[in-house]
């Protein structure tokens, strides 16, 4: 219970710091949302109109008051209204979140389907052709930016071969190209992590002991070595989750996939602060919650961690 309590406290503190920093940074960034909202580039606006809107939005108050007001509203699940669409931020974000989470999940599936077999085979057949292929794959994955890979896939699969749609969403076909783009980029990293982690497992004395008990190769691999090698993979997964969710932004824009990433890019271009702040906040919560889940999964893989010490 003590552990749960301290975790919760950490979580709340983290959110406070995150909200303050994001709020302050956005306020300090150049550009004026009021001018954007009044379309100052296109029509002539008077000083009065600008001041009136500033007052409406509370921009005339000191920053700390704006922040406190925003936080007070947040505790009532009110993240404000989008400056552009006039819709509640919560509604805007939550209408897009499922698409992004679906894309993230399918990308993870692609990553697992590619990285786990390739990493395992590279470790089992060390220094063989498959190991070289995995090394090349990792090198390419690290050097090719995902937006370029996405463009390449759009050109080849969607334009030249006309097999899959290049943009939008709706069917599973729309998910394929963005998921493969994101999944392959991630797989390149995990292939090498899994390979080195498995090689470390193979060298463990308990693997030799398992072999000495006559267990089949399959059993030794899956039940002993592979499971042992998952711990570093899970750790890195927890750490890189933020960049994965952030990574969807580029892919969503590229494939015109209406996820939360695309929404926030549009919001940044239009200086729609409430959407940006809401995005940062919700992503912060999401990353933290998923990280807690990753922590919990340690105990699934290594149940001895929660058991007592040596007698």
């Amino acid at each position: 219970m003590k552990n749960v309590g301290s975790r919760f406290l950490e979580f709340v503190l983290f959110l406070l710091v995150l909200s303050f920093i994001s709020f302050a940074f956005i306020k300090l960034a150049p550009g004026d949302p009021v001018m954007g909202m009044l379309k100052a580039d296109e029509v002539v606006v008077t000083e009065e109109q600008v001041d009136k809107l500033r007052e409406e939005l509370g921009f005339d108050k000191p920053i700390y008051l704006q922040y406190i007001n925003w936080m007070l509203a947040f505790f009532q699940f009110d993240l404000g209204y989008s400056y552009m669409t006039k819709q509640p931020v919560i509604e805007e974000l939550f209408s897009r979140l499922p698409s992004t989470l679906t894309l993230t999940a399918t990308s993870l599936v692609v990553m697992i389907v590619v990285a786990f077999p390739l990493g395992s085979l590279a470790a089992i057949y060390r220094n063989s052709w498959i190991d070289h292929v995995s090394r090349l794959f990792a090198l390419l994955g690290a050097s090719i930016p995902s937006f370029w890979l996405g463009l390449l896939l759009i050109h080849l699969v969607a334009v030249q071969l006309d097999l899959l749609p290049s943009m939008g969403m709706g069917t599973w076909k729309h998910l394929l190209l963005p998921s493969v783009t994101l999944g392959l980029a991630m797989a390149a990293v995990y292939v090498r992590i899994l390979r080195s982690s498995l090689l470390d497992s193979f060298g463990q004395d308990f693997i030799r002991a398992a072999k000495a008990r006559g267990l089949s190769r399959k059993r030794v691999f899956f039940h002993h070595a592979f499971r042992h090698s998952l711990l570093p993979v899970l750790t890195i997964f927890g750490v890189s989750l933020g960049s994965l969710l952030g990574g969807t932004v580029i892919i969503e824009v590229l494939f015109a996939y209406p996820g939360i990433g695309k929404l926030v890019v549009d919001a940044i271009l239009k200086r729609d602060y409430p959407i940006i702040q809401g995005y940062i906040f919700i992503m912060g919560i999401l990353v933290t919650v998923i990280n807690l889940g990753v922590d919990a999964s340690y105990h699934l893989v290594h149940p001895e961690l929660k058991r007592g010490k040596r007698r």
């Binding site: 308990f206 030799r208 000495a212 008990r213 267990l215 190769r217």
Partner: protein, 270 residues
């Protein structure tokens, strides 16, 4: 009846010979001690029997037969059927004898599942009985390796090795990492179970006190070669090789205690 016969076994890496022309045999019910200093090639010889050599280390020449089957040319799958059932191992490092994230019971059960067609209920009965044989409580079955002491873990290792009544037990320094009282209990259990199963034991150690108590025959190894073999009586009463003589001299004797203390007193200036 000879169970295990190692003939002129040479083990080497690409640039170094580690074990040279080792010839050794173990008969049913016999306790053969392979003694020698660390790095003399005892453990390598033992690992070769089960095809457990890793990486660059390879068998260069020689043969290992178990009954009438040649173990070196045997396929991995066929060898796996023997390991854990007919040929069992107990290793020195009890911490690495079991996979840390699987419960002890699960690891005992997977050995039974691999080698027998018994039902889940039968397997549980055999496993609990095996634990009882080594004087461990049933609760150990549900424990994780990190929850057990060194002595307990080594007893679980012995229980796992002996529960299918193997013909050959390879005990690679099973007591080196234990304190002397625990080591004594562990060896007593090992000896009792091996006698009951009429199992041949290849006992690797550098502790001659244990050899004196349990072994029937002794092979002395130095720098990858066997320098002397013979019955326990012959080796202890009439050692031939200078290395064997020096090994025997190194056994601490109870009646030396006083002399050593007096010697020490003279050396230390108060």
């Amino acid at each position: 009846m000879i169970m295990l016969k190692i003939s002129e076994l040479t083990i080497a890496t690409t640039n170094e010979t580690l074990v040279k022309d080792v010839t050794l045999s173990v008969a049913s019910g016999e306790w053969v001690a392979l003694v020698g200093e660390s790095g003399s090639g005892k453990s390598l010889t033992a690992l070769t029997i089960g095809g457990l050599l890793s990486g660059q280390v390879k068998v260069e020449s020689g043969s290992i037969t178990f009954g009438d089957r040649d173990l070196i040319s045997m396929k991995r799958k066929e060898l796996s059927r023997l390991l854990g059932k007919e040929i069992s191992y107990v290793f020195q490092d009890y911490n690495s004898a079991f996979t840390p994230f699987l419960s002890v019971g699960k690891q005992i059960d997977e050995v039974l599942r691999t080698h027998t067609k018994w039902s889940r209920h039968e397997r549980l009965g055999i496993a609990l009985n095996a634990l009882k044989d080594v004087k461990l409580q049933e609760s150990v079955y549900r424990s994780y390796p990190c929850q057990l002491s060194g002595g307990q873990l080594q007893r679980v290792a012995i229980a796992t090795s002996m529960m299918l009544s193997p013909s050959l037990l390879i005990a690679d320094e099973p007591t080196t990492a234990l304190d002397s009282i625990t080591a004594h209990h562990v060896l007593e259990l090992l000896s009792k179970l091996a006698n009951e199963a009429n199992c041949g034991v290849l006992f690797i150690t550098h502790d001659l006190r244990h050899v004196k108590k349990y072994a029937t025959r002794i092979a002395v190894m130095k720098d990858g070669q066997i320098v002397e073999t013979g019955t326990k009586e012959k080796i202890f009463t009439n050692p031939q090789h200078p290395y064997t003589k020096s090994l025997l001299k190194a056994i601490p004797k109870l009646n030396d205690h006083r002399t050593r203390l007096i010697g020490l007193e003279k050396e230390v200036s108060w």
